[in-house]
């Protein structure tokens, strides 16, 4: 049995779990290629046009897999934390993909409530049963998958740069090189180090979010807002770059919250869609770096005077 796993959306975070789980169940796991021109174009072509770029690209990945596997996994992530939600498009992802694409193999679309291992297990059990495995086999595979996930660390925390910025945004916008036109490398090449949210502890993220009038009900809000505020307040970074896609509803809120929380902190927002030109992005990051350099220089200047 060939199980296809699309390399889109939160794959970048949860691939150890998915790949190990289905591999351990004895399936031949086929992962789509890194996002490339073909996958990108297919995504744009088949997905409804007012969706955000990451969802479109996910469509491209499923399209890539459709003749290469017997079963495709479309993770319908409903919740990652208790009492929090993630974007409605995640909850309706299978519906979008199954209706926008034709000729798909059967798909695993059961909802994933990853609020605890136990809740996650019920997804694993259903998926395992689809593959004709018994509970014992599923349990073994599940435990191995969790191990793999736990040992997997993502995140960037560069050292040795004079300027350091916090790179915020949804993980798939940060880690998909094709989507963001090699943003990480671009920033590094311009002499700036990067720090991402993964190095800030959950409780610190949560503490910042608690200062809001209303408890955010989006996981993404807590993560990005908490991270941005914390890194700025503790002077871990000199500026913040937020990479976002057009038509992303959660980002439009998070960006505003960060702006409100940090009115005077250098903050660059890069919005990306299928029409974004690389040259424009380059210029904006360069200008941002120049601004940060000036600020740093001025600050040190003033302090020697005073």
């Amino acid at each position: 049995m060939k199980v296809g796993i699309p390399k889109g959306l939160l794959y970048c975070k949860y691939h150890p779990f998915l790949v190990t789980f289905f591999g351990e169940l004895g399936a031949e796991v086929i992962v789509s290629e890194d996002t490339n021109k073909n996958i990108f174009d297919a995504g744009i072509k088949y997905c409804v046009d007012d969706a955000c770029l990451p969802v479109k690209i996910f469509h491209g990945h499923v399209n890539f897999l459709k003749d290469k596997c017997d079963l495709v996994v479309i993770p319908r992530i409903m919740q990652l934390w208790k009492n929090e939600y993630i974007c409605p498009k995640f909850c309706g992802l299978p519906e979008m993909v199954l209706n926008n694409l034709n000729g798909l193999p059967p798909a695993i679309t059961d909802p994933i409530y990853a609020t605890s291992w136990k809740n996650l297990y019920s997804w694993a059990q259903k998926s395992g049963n689809l593959l004709g495995k018994n509970n014992r086999q599923i349990k073994v595979a599940f435990n191995k998958a969790i191990e793999a996930q736990k040992n997997h660390k993502t995140g960037i925390d560069d050292e040795g740069y004079e300027i350091k910025i916090a790179l915020t945004g949804h993980p798939y916008n940060i880690y998909d090189k094709f989507l963001n036109m090699n943003l990480v490398k671009k920033i590094n090449n311009l002499g700036m180090g990067i720090r991402t949210a993964e190095f800030t502890q959950e409780d610190i993220l949560a503490r910042e979010a608690d200062n809001l009038y209303k408890r955010p009900f989006w996981t993404f809000v807590r993560e990005n807002y908490g991270f941005a505020l914390n890194s700025a307040k503790e002077k871990k970074v000199d500026g913040i770059i937020y990479v976002s896609s057009f038509n992303c509803g959660t980002d439009s809120v998070i960006i505003e919250l960060i702006k409100n929380g940090l009115p005077d902190f250098p903050f660059l927002i890069l919005k990306i869609d299928e029409h974004t030109g690389e040259a424009g992005i380059n210029t904006r990051i360069e200008a941002f770096r120049d601004m940060l350099e000036r600020r740093l220089f001025n600050e040190s200047h003033i302090s020697t005077l005073g």
Binding site: G92, F217, W218, T250, E256
Partner: protein, 365 residues
């Protein structure tokens, strides 16, 4: 305290009755207009959904007339509406307004104590007795129900009326007159009266008008300004329309949702295409599309603001329903840049299509 609240269709009449009954000072923002949208857009984040922008326009205009407190319902669904209040509070503050917000969230999110707390802030500025307060709430809810029924009746009968435009003008007159009532009981009997008059509008039962269901995102289907008064236009074309999303539906849905017995018919109808709640009202959109097909409607129009997350999911599903049931569905996206001309062209083309389909069936071609 001088309270205000954002517009949503006819809700202002219900709220007016409520505040009149409670004896609370209030300001109804001027009716939604390009002006409200323009000032709202100027001060709102670019990519926020359209309802947010119009609401900001409402607040700013209400403040000009002396309002100092905004009363808002929140909903902690997995959609942006739940984050509105935070952003709007910040935004108004940064614009230099000294505006209080009272957000009425669901008890499951803020706790029943906090809800009572917030309600009591409103209640304490009313000098009425407890009983009078309860009566005021009850009348306001009755008014909301009655208004929704009356409006639905007008929309439906517009396809059958003998004297063109009668339903529409009666309902508009009803709204205008209701606005003049300072006593909730008076408003209630006035609306009852108009409902009767619309019921007795001369109709031609042999007419078989085109029937269209209006589905989609709750704000943009209910608030006429945001959808270029699509229902008024359809009344002019002699089309019968139906819309499941109404303020009173919303009230009932909110009240029953903790028990999970809300909107059972919609849940059942949508199960095959969207079995889970994904936020916003995507599930209702799907369910209503199918229900209206079952009820013999000719087609459905989905309306939503640009970038609306749950409705983009529905939009992906609707073509499948359209195909499976041979039921035409058109999606209309609205935002502050949408031009009315293009909107009307598409609307007319859609009605033409529905009429042609009927002729084809009649003549068997």
């Amino acid at each position: 305290m001088k309270a205000t609240f954002p517009h949503l269709g006819n809700v202002y009449l219900g709220v007016k009755a409520l505040f009149d009954g409670l004896g609370i000072d209030y300001v109804i923002p001027p009716q939604n207009s390009d002006h409200a949208l323009n000032i709202g857009t100027r001060h709102s984040p670019d990519e926020i959904c359209l309802p947010f922008k119009i609401m900001i326009g409402n607040y700013m205009q209400a403040v000009e007339e002396g309002a100092d407190t905004v009363i808002l319902t929140g909903s902690c669904g997995p959609c942006r509406f739940g984050e509105y209040c935070e952003l709007q509070m910040n935004l108004m503050k940064s614009l230099g307004y000294d505006l209080k917000f009272i957000v009425l969230d669901m008890p499951k999110d803020i706790g029943i104590k906090e809800l009572f707390n917030r309600l009591s802030i409103i209640g304490s500025s009313s000098k009425k007795s407890r009983l009078q307060k309860l009566r005021a709430v009850k009348t306001a809810v009755q008014i909301m129900h009655l208004l929704d029924e009356t409006e639905a009746l007008a929309h439906y009968l517009a396809g059958y009326e003998r004297n063109k435009g009668q339903c529409k003008s009666l309902f508009h007159r009803c709204r205008r007159e209701a606005m003049k009532c300072s006593d909730p009981q008076e408003m209630l009997s006035l609306i009852k009266e108009y409902k009767k008059r619309i019921e007795y509008v001369p109709v031609d039962i042999n007419k078989d008008p085109v029937k269209i269901a209006i589905i989609g995102e709750i704000y943009t289907v209910i608030e006429p300004y945001s959808n270029f008064c699509i229902e008024d236009k359809l009344m002019d074309y002699g089309v019968s329309t139906k819309r499941g999303m109404t303020p009173s539906w919303w009230l009932k849905n909110m009240a029953l949702s903790p028990l999970k017995i809300n909107s059972l018919d919609i849940k059942k109808a949508s199960r095959k295409y969207l079995s889970l709640e994904i936020g916003g009202h995507a599930r209702e959109c799907i369910g209503e599309a199918i229900l209206s097909w079952k009820e013999g409607f000719d087609g459905a129009i989905q309306i939503y603001p640009l970038g609306c997350m749950p409705e983009i999911v529905s939009k992906s599903i609707l073509p499948a329903i359209s195909r499976d049931y041979d039921f035409p569905i058109m999606s209309l996206v609205v935002d502050d840049m949408t031009g009315e001309a293009g909107f009307i062209t598409r609307l007319e083309a859609f009605i033409d299509l529905l009429e042609r389909r009927r002729d084809n069936v009649l003549f068997g071609s």
